[in-house]
Amino acid sequence: MHSQTRTGSIAKKGWLALLLSGLSLNASAEQKSVTLMLDWFVNPNHGPIVIAQEKGYFNDQGLNVVIQEPADPSMPAKLVAANKIDLAISYQTSLTIDVAENLPLIRASTLIATPLNTLMVLDNGKIHSLADLKGKKIGIAIAGNEEATVGTMLESAGITFDDVEIINVGWALSSSLASGKVDAIWGGLRNFESNQLAIEGYKAKAFYPEEHGVPSYDELIVVANANHYDADAIRRFNKAIEKATIYIINHPQDAWIEFAAYSPDTLNNELNKRAWRDTLTRFDLRPAAVDLERYDQFTQFLYKNKIIRSKPKASDFVPTL
């Protein structure tokens, strides 16, 4: 008798569990699951994504965004091209190179629509202008576009890419500059490395590519697979990102607190706080907006400088969704 009651109650619980799981299945069926891989460990450049996640903007759009972090920024776009993940953070420079090499990728949205990269030197009176870099060492974290970008900047000052020594310093950009092992670095971001150096007690001076002959480009974009993208999901994704960006601009201080709370151990520190302040003006207010001519101009720039061997048309890889 006793055991029968127990069995009955277990059966009841079983039904309840089944009912609940059915309900949750129903709920998740409405939510579209999207995997998004960042380009690097989470940092202030990813502000709109983190805020959209934290404040539930993705959820409001019926999206369940799973954020992943790689340790190699060249991987995420390849994974999207291989259709292993849905979306990845990339750069316009890399996307153009990838598409020119026939990777099936499209630009889905823009997070930061201006260059962040700089040619950075220490502000110690040794290098006043780009021309002073003649015969000097420039440290880079190989991204494949250096001959075009750095080369054009140097040419704007009357020297060439061959007049300097290019050294791959991997991810030790700030330390290689601070230690004097190189005289300048390319790949240091104006919102990040300059603050990092300042915290370490070094004053940095930046030369901006867009002011020295390099056409302006989107620093941070989101890419999707050209053959398998879900236009509707991307539209909803962009709506959430736009809402998050506006929130950040309107409430920078609150947004910082919410951003830092995403991963307090790694984000809540002085460097990120300063970088956040400097990134605020850089977020793209219209992440879905498309400017084909600007993309074509940059492709032409890379082609002219022999970085790419074919010239993909922007209308093919920057669709209006």
Binding site: A81, I167, K181
Partner: protein, 266 residues
């Protein structure tokens, strides 16, 4: 009956030996063909796009078209590997001898030796770059560091495990410590040291390439990073192919030289 059996066995052994010695080159060629065939098969069966796994044909074409660039970078990496090997072997031999001759020193040196192997080279590489600069020195040290442990332990084990009969003989003949080392211990340790050297020539390229990966302006590691950034995965594989070929060649040359130099086995 027994005689016939023995005869059979020797004939078989003879034939087997003859078979083996007939075509070692052909054997290598066959292995290469088999590997390339398998590679092509994987590309075709799994329909990998070229940015995931390029076909052997594409890689070979790159190898031919960009041979000048590839050879230039190979030459840089070769220098790093060879100098790294010389430094690593010298250091290993020196450490092993110190540990054998000065027993108390062993307790101090052993943790350093183990630490040299326990610290991941990838973690220490960026720091080494800042200490030694982005030139050849940092790569040589990386290559030396990665072979230091196998060379030292093999050499030390060899030196320690001299058959006691030989040591007794040396004592009986009232040989000095130096004479025992020079004529007994060192020759007896050489086969063990040779094993260490064989391991070293294969792993030294890893050290050099890791060094190039984190800081360099030339070399196969640098070329691979460039190719990867420009999505020229076939070129990256071409560089990898050269590196593998280089390691294999270096191994067989070393093996041949060692066999010729150390014709005795204990």
């Amino acid at each position: 009956m027994l005689e016939i059996n023995v005869l059979d066995a020797t004939t078989e052994a003879h034939i087997a030996k003859k078979k083996k010695t007939i075509h070692p080159l052909l054997q290598g060629l066959l292995t290469a063909c088999l590997l390339f065939g398998l590679w092509q098969l994987i590309v075709v069966v799994f329909a990998f796009p070229p940015f995931i796994l390029p076909s052997p044909h594409a890689v070979m074409m790159k190898l031919i078209l960009r041979i000048d660039v590839l050879l230039f970078h190979t030459w840089i990496t070769t220098q790093e590997i060879v100098l790294g090997l010389i430094l690593g072997l010298t250091m290993g031999l020196f450490f092993a001898l110190q540990m054998l001759l000065f027993e108390p020193l062993k307790r101090w040196l052993l943790p350093i030796l183990i630490a040299s192997q326990a610290i991941p080279v990838f973690a220490i590489a960026p720091i080494l770059m800042l200490w030694l600069g982005y030139g050849i020195a940092s790569k040589v040290v990386m290559a030396a560091l990665i072979i230091f442990f196998p060379v030292t332990t093999c050499c030390y084990d060899g030196l320690r495990s001299t058959p006691s009969g030989y040591i007794d003989l040396a004592k009986t003949m009232s040989a000095s410590k130096w004479q025992t080392l020079r004529h007994i211990r060192l020759p007896a340790a050489l086969p063990a040291l040779a094993s260490g050297i064989r391991v070293a020539v294969v792993v030294a390229p890893i050290g050099a390439v890791v060094g190039e990966w984190v800081g360099s302006s030339a070399g196969l590691g640098y070329l691979m990073l460039q190719a990867n950034a420009r999505m020229m995965i076939d070129e990256m594989f071409a560089a990898l192919f050269i590196l593998a070929l280089f390691s294999i060649t270096l191994y067989f040359i070393t093996d041949r030289l060692l066999k010729r130099a150390i014709h005795w086995q204990l």
